[in-house]
C-alpha cells in the first residue's frame, strides 16, 4: 500500500512536470511572437500615415512613402496566385483522386516534397536562368511571379491533396453509386467539401510568397522604380525594399524601415487571420 502510493505520488509529480515543461514551451513561442509583433508595431506605428502608404519615396528613401513597394508586392502576389493556384489545385486533385498507387505516384510525391525543401534563393537563380534570361522576360513582375509560383506550388498541392483526402470515402462512393462520373463526383461533392482547406492552404502559400525576398531579388525587383505599367516592367516590392534599407549604404530614418516592416507584417497577418477564421466558420458548417 505504502509502496503503491509512493509510486502514484511520483507519477503525479512527473505528470505535473510534463505539463509545466510542455506548457512553458508553448507559452514561450507565444511570447516570442508577441514580442516580435509588438516591437514592430512599437517602432513602426509612428511612421504610418496617409502619405507613407500612398506616396513614392523621396530623398533616397529617407522621406516620402512606400506606395510603389506596396503596389509591387500586391501585383507580384496577384500574378503568383494566377500562375500557382490553378496548377497547384489541379495537381492536388490528380494526386488525391486519380493517381494510381504505384512507383510513379511515389516519385511525384517525393518530387513535391523536395520542391518544398529547396532554399528560396535557389528558386531565384532558377527564375533568373529560365524566366529572365532564357524566356527573355528580363527583370519583370511576370518573371518574379512565375518564380514565386514555383516556390508556392508545393504548398498549394500538398494543402489541396490533404484537404481532399479528409473528405470521407463514403461520399465519393455514394456519388459514384448514383451513376456520377469520377469528374462530377470530384467537382460537385469532394471539392465543395474540401474547399475550406484548399482555399486556406492556397492563401497561406501566397502569404509566404508575398514575404519572400530571395526569389524576386534577381528576377523582378529594382532598388527604385516607379509603379510598373505592365507585368513586363520591373517593380519595387516590400520585402526587398526592407532588405535594401536595412543593409545598404543609404541610411534612412529607422522609423521608415520599421514602418515598412509593419506594413508587410500587418498585410500578411491580416490575410492569415482572415483565412483561418474563414476555415473555422466553414468547418462548423460542414461536419461529419
Amino acid at each position: 500500500m505504502n509502496h503503491a502510493s509512493a509510486r502514484v505520488r511520483r507519477a503525479r509529480t512527473v505528470e505535473m512536470l510534463a505539463r509545466a515543461v510542455t506548457g512553458a514551451a508553448a507559452f514561450g513561442v507565444l511570447g516570442v511572437v508577441a514580442f516580435i509583433l509588438g516591437y514592430i508595431l512599437y517602432r513602426g506605428a509612428g511612421s504610418i500615415d496617409w502619405e507613407f502608404l500612398t506616396a513614392p519615396p523621396r530623398m533616397f528613401m529617407t522621406q516620402g512613402g512606400i506606395w510603389p513597394a506596396i503596389y509591387g508586392t500586391l501585383l507580384l502576389t496577384f500574378w503568383t496566385a494566377v500562375f500557382a493556384i490553378p496548377v497547384g489545385i489541379m495537381a492536388g486533385i490528380y494526386l488525391a483522386e486519380y493517381a494510381p498507387k504505384g512507383a510513379f505516384t511515389r516519385v511525384i510525391r517525393l518530387a513535391i516534397a523536395n520542391m518544398a525543401g529547396v532554399p528560396s534563393i535557389v528558386y531565384g537563380l532558377f527564375g533568373l536562368a529560365l524566366f529572365v534570361l532564357t524566356v527573355g522576360f528580363g527583370r519583370s513582375v511576370i518573371a518574379g511571379a512565375l518564380t514565386l509560383a514555383c516556390l508556392t506550388l508545393p504548398v498549394i498541392i500538398t494543402a489541396t491533396e490533404e484537404a481532399l483526402l479528409q473528405v470521407p470515402q463514403d461520399l465519393r462512393q455514394a456519388s459514384l453509386a448514383l451513376g456520377a462520373t469520377r469528374l462530377r463526383t470530384v467537382l460537385r461533392i469532394v471539392i465543395p467539401a474540401a474547399a475550406p482547406g484548399i482555399v486556406t492552404g492556397s492563401i497561406l502559400g501566397l502569404s509566404r510568397a508575398a514575404g519572400e525576398t530571395a526569389p524576386i531579388l534577381v528576377t523582378a525587383v529594382a532598388f527604385y522604380s516607379p509603379v510598373p505599367r505592365t507585368v513586363f516592367d520591373e517593380t519595387m516590392a516590400l520585402p526587398y525594399h526592407l532588405y535594401i534599407m536595412a543593409t545598404q549604404a543609404v541610411k534612412p530614418a529607422p522609423d521608415v524601415v520599421w514602418g515598412t516592416a509593419l506594413v508587410l507584417v500587418a498585410g500578411v497577418s491580416i490575410i492569415n487571420v482572415v483565412a483561418a477564421a474563414w476555415r473555422t466558420r466553414q468547418r462548423r458548417r460542414i461536419r461529419w
Binding site: P100, K101, P168, D170, L171, R172, Q173, A174, S175, L176, A177, L178, G179, A180, T181, R184, R188, I189, P192, A193, I286, R287, W288
Partner: protein, 261 residues
C-alpha cells in the same frame, strides 16, 4: 405491376479476386425481380464483396477482378460495351452508414436526377417528392427540404439515402447492412420501407441479422468462408421460409440456429 424480366440477375460461377487473393468463388444463383433477396453469413464471408459486383462498385477499388458471368436482365454487365456509370443508374445502392452529401435535403435527392440531365424545377420537385414518399420520409421533411441533411437523425438520414438512390428510378436497390448503424425504431422503419418498395424494385440486402433476413426477405443466400486458405462460397440459396425452417445444408442449420457466426 412490373414486368417479370425487369431487374433480375443471373450469377454464373462468379468469383472475386483482390490482387492475388480470391475472396469469393463459384457463386451461381439468380436474383428474382420485384422481390427481396437477403445475403447472410458471418463477417468476412464476402457478402458485401458480392453485392458490390452487381453495380460494379468493385471497379472503383482498383486491382479487383471479377470472374464468371453476371447477367442483368440478360446482359453481361462486365461486357466491354456496358458503361458502369449507366449500370449504376439502374442498380442503386444504399450503404451501411448513412452517407448524405453535405447539402440540403432537396439537393441530396436531386443529385442523381441532376447528374443525369434533369434541369426543370417542376420535374425535380416532383421527383424529390415522389422519392421521399417512397422512402417514407416525406411527411417528416416536407416543410424543411432546404435544411441541411446533417440536421436529420441517423434513421432519417438513412431513409434520405434510400430516397436519393430511388430518385434515379433504379430497377434494383442494393443495400449493404442498411440498418446496422441504427436504433431499433429506425431499423423497423427501414424494414417497413423495404416491404413497401419490393413491389416496384428488386432489393438485394446484405445483413448480419438473421431475424431481419427472415422478416423481410423472400429468398436467402447463405455464404461462408470456412478458412482463410480458401475463398468464400455460396452454401445454399432458396426460399427464405424453407431455408429457415428446413435448411438443406448442415452448415446453414448451424449458422441460423446460432451455433457460430
Amino acid at each position: 405491376m412490373v414486368t417479370a424480366a425487369s431487374g433480375s440477375f443471373e450469377l454464373d460461377d462468379v468469383s472475386v479476386t483482390y490482387g492475388n487473393e480470391t475472396a469469393v468463388a463459384g457463386v451461381t444463383m439468380s436474383i428474382e425481380p420485384a422481390s427481396v433477396t437477403a445475403l447472410i453469413g458471418p463477417s468476412g464471408c464476402g457478402k458485401s464483396t458480392l453485392l458490390r459486383c452487381l453495380n460494379r462498385m468493385n471497379d472503383e477499388l482498383g486491382n479487383v477482378k471479377v470472374g464468371g458471368r453476371i447477367l442483368f436482365d440478360g446482359v453481361d454487365i462486365y461486357d466491354r460495351s456496358v458503361d458502369p456509370v449507366e449500370l449504376r443508374v439502374r442498380v442503386g445502392q444504399v450503404f451501411q452508414k448513412p452517407n448524405p452529401f453535405p447539402m440540403s435535403i432537396f439537393d441530396n435527392v436531386a443529385y442523381g436526377p441532376r447528374t443525369h440531365g434533369v434541369r426543370r424545377k417542376a420535374e425535380l420537385d416532383a421527383l424529390v417528392e415522389e422519392s421521399l414518399k417512397r422512402a417514407a420520409l416525406w411527411e417528416e421533411v416536407k416543410n424543411s427540404l432546404k435544411k441541411h441533411a446533417f440536421e436529420l437523425s441517423g434513421g432519417q438520414q438513412q431513409r434520405l439515402c434510400i430516397a436519393r438512390a430511388l430518385a434515379t428510378s433504379p430497377e434494383v436497390l442494393l443495400m449493404d447492412e442498411p440498418a446496422s448503424a441504427l436504433d431499433p425504431i429506425s431499423t423497423q422503419q427501414i424494414e417497413d420501407t423495404i416491404a413497401e418498395l419490393k413491389s416496384s424494385v428488386t432489393i438485394v440486402i446484405v445483413t448480419h441479422n438473421m431475424q431481419q433476413a427472415a422478416r423481410i426477405s423472400d429468398r436467402t443466400a447463405f455464404m461462408l468462408r470456412e478458412s482463410m486458405d480458401f475463398p468464400a462460397q455460396l452454401v445454399e440459396v432458396g426460399d427464405t421460409r424453407v431455408m429457415f425452417t428446413n435448411p438443406a445444408d448442415k452448415r446453414t442449420e448451424a449458422y441460423i440456429t446460432g451455433r457460430f457466426g
